[in-house]
Structures are given as C-alpha cells and as structure tokens.
Symmetry: C2
C-alpha cells in the first residue's frame, strides 16, 4: 500500500560496475580484490552505495571514478539485483551498471590504492555474492547493444585498424567474422573516417588507421542504426 511512507522498510542501495575493456584479442573486465569483510581477499566488481544527494547514474560515475580514476566513461544501467540474502551483512539491493573503457588510455591512470586487475571475461575468477550473474547479464546486454549503438568504439583507442575493430566484435559476440563482409558492413554504416596514417605494429605492409566520426554518427543514429554482424 502506498498510503503511508513512514512505516515502509528502508534498504541500502548499492551500485556495482561491470567495467569492460578490450586488449589484444580479449574482452576483459576490471576486478578488485576486496579489502574488507565479508569475503575479504576475494575478487569483486567495483561498487559502492548510493548517497542521498545523487541519482544512480551519478553514483555509478562517482564510484567508477573513485576506484579507478577514470573520467567521461560510457555507462549504462543494467539491472537491479535484489535477492533477500544476496549480501550477508545487510539487506542490500544492487543496481548494476556496465562501463566501456579504452584500456590503453586508462591503464596508467588506474588508482593504485586499490588492488584492481584486468581479467579476460572467460578466464575470470569466481566473484563474490551475485557478481558472476551480473557479469553474465552485462555480456548479454553488450552483445545486444552492438546491434543498436556503435558501442565498440568506446572500447578502442581513438585511432584503430579495421582488424582491431573486427577482433573486438569477435570477442564481444564470441564468434569468428568474415573479414570482407565485416568491412563492408562497417563501411556501409558510414561513421568511420579513414586516415592517411598507418599502423606498422602488426604487419610489414602496415594497415590504415580509422577513427570514429561522432558527428556523422549522431546524424545517422537519430534515424536508424543497425549493425547485424
């Protein structure tokens, strides 16, 4: 019943973040070793509690920034996890967010006060509470999201090769893609700019670098954006 706020139970509202990164050929998540009880020493998502003065997006941004030092990060609310005994200490509902990070740009600024480490998604340790469930749901959402937003670019450095982009999508979708079909699908989106510059790291011939054109994307995305790989 809604007719008296006074008698209602209050709860702690946590925010946990699944932080995705991409490095070489692997989709990764950033985990921290928990330094307090319960479950001290176990691996965990980064998290914190909502404050009275902020909304959930702000809380997620603050928590991410505080534990990692990262700014201006793509984040999206995922789901509220609410099993009664999910946290043994106290009744806590956790709203999970996921974030996409360009690992290269951000690794040096990782806050060293916390014991944070990148793990391949399919090589990560068991996590505390219901955090594994959160990660599974985040991966599912990320897969779906690739079809509706150019989300991949959030995970790559400013300049990248077609091959890197393809490897990224292969990691997210967990399947091999055909090089020629991939390139023509990406090109038909018309949101990339091909640079003069080449990346010479991965081959003798070198491969052209591209960057994401924010303006072109915004122009397109209002009407339609659909990427089926």
């Amino acid at each position: 019943m809604l007719n008296s706020y006074k008698t209602e139970d209050k709860v702690l509202l946590a925010v946990d973040c699944i932080i995705f990164g991409f490095d070489k050929d692997d989709l990764k998540i950033l985990l921290i070793k928990r330094d307090f009880e319960p479950e001290k020493g176990k691996w965990s998502l980064i998290g914190g509690f909502l404050k009275r003065s902020e909304n959930l997006n702000e809380a997620a941004t603050r928590i991410l920034n505080h534990l990692t030092g990262f700014h201006d990060i793509y984040m999206e609310q995922l789901y509220a996890f609410s099993e009664v005994d999910r946290d043994p200490v106290e009744r806590t509902i956790s709203v999970a967010y996921y974030a996409l990070i360009n690992v290269e740009n951000h690794t040096e600024e990782l806050n060293q006060d916390y014991d944070a480490k990148w793990f391949s998604v399919d090589n990560a340790p068991k996590l505390i509470f219901d955090h594994d469930q959160m990660v599974r749901r985040a991966i599912k959402r990320l897969r779906y999201r690739t079809a509706t937003k150019p989300i991949g670019f959030e995970l790559l450095p400013e300049k990248f090769t077609m091959r890197q982009l393809q490897k990224l999508y292969e990691a997210i979708l967990d399947k091999k893609l055909d090089k020629r079909n991939f390139i023509s699908k990406i090109n038909s989106l018309d949101v990339l700019v091909k640079l003069e510059e080449k990346d010479m790291m991965s081959s003798r011939k070198g491969s052209y670098l591209y960057k994401f054109d924010q303006e072109k994307y915004e122009e397109k995305s209002s009407q339609n954006f659909s990427l089926n790989l």
Copy 2:
C-alpha cells in the same frame, strides 16, 4: 567506499508497474486514481514499496496482485528511476516493472477498492512524478521484446484469430502490417495451433481460432526465436 555499511544512507525502494492490456485495436495501460497525498486525485501507475522479506520480482507480483487481483502474470523488470527529487515526500528510488494482461480474462476480477481504469496508451492522462517516462520506456521495451519472445500471446485470450494477433502487433509496433506477410511469418515460428472452431463475431464467413502452443514454444525458444515484422 564499501568498507563500512553502517554509515551509508538508506532509501525507500518503490516498485511501479506498467500494466499493458489489449482490447479491440488498442494497446492499453491500467492506471489508478491516487487516493492520498501528495498528488491525490491524479492518475498514477500502481505501485508500492519493497519489503525487507522479499525480492523485487516478489514485490512486483504482490503489488500487482493486491491492487488488481491478478495472478500468474507475465512481468519483467524495466529500469530503476532515481532522480533525487522524483518523489517530493521522501527520497525514493523506483524500480519499474511492466506486466502483460489479457484484459478479457481479468477485467471482472479487478479489485474494486481502487479506482483503476484502462486507458489507450496514446490517450492516457498525464501521470504523477516520472511515471510518464516509465511508460515511454516500457513501450520501447515491449517493442523490442516482440522480436525475441512470443510476448504478444500474453495479451490475448486463450483463443484468438490471426486478425486479432495482427492488430495487436500493429498496436505495439505502431505500424500497419501486410496480412499475408504477417501470417506467413507467424506460421513459420511454428508455435500456433489452428483450431477447428471459428470466431463468428467479426464477419459472416467466420475466422479460424488459434491457440499458442507453450510446449512447441519452449522447444524452439531454447535454440532461437526471432520475429521481425
């Protein structure tokens, strides 16, 4: 920081339900006239507060049942709404759920203690707080969900005609569909059973009734289910 639960702020956690129904050619939502302050007399989604002893799904089910009398209803968590001043009385975060109701089966059992009424989605009154925003997001989710689950059947009576099913999808997607293409797409899903029986209400010729085959669906859906209308 996570290292002391004690000092953290606690909040009220509400659950609000967007209850969808379908009647004739219209997608509808069930609203109640709020009978307490603030915003007494205004239209609102049905809602309530999470109790310490239940998770959010349980709370949503309980609240829906209490205010409407409905049982065994399809529900899905939508999103957590958390603007600091969304509820003027007290800091409240609301997790929205949406439910799909077969109006015919459920209208007589509507709990009369509350002033509840069905409104066409595009003819609904302005709602309190951020409830309009919740409804918009629910419609968007419902549209997306049609492609991945046979969600439409939740909104129809047990037996229905192809035309009713088509009208329903037209209402959800807000676009006209081609009759022949619609039927062949639905048939290719192979989850309907054509009955001998005809519905004689809408034409002289009568039109065959169908029902949804739960078993066939479950068999299919584990592998793949995709309906692009």
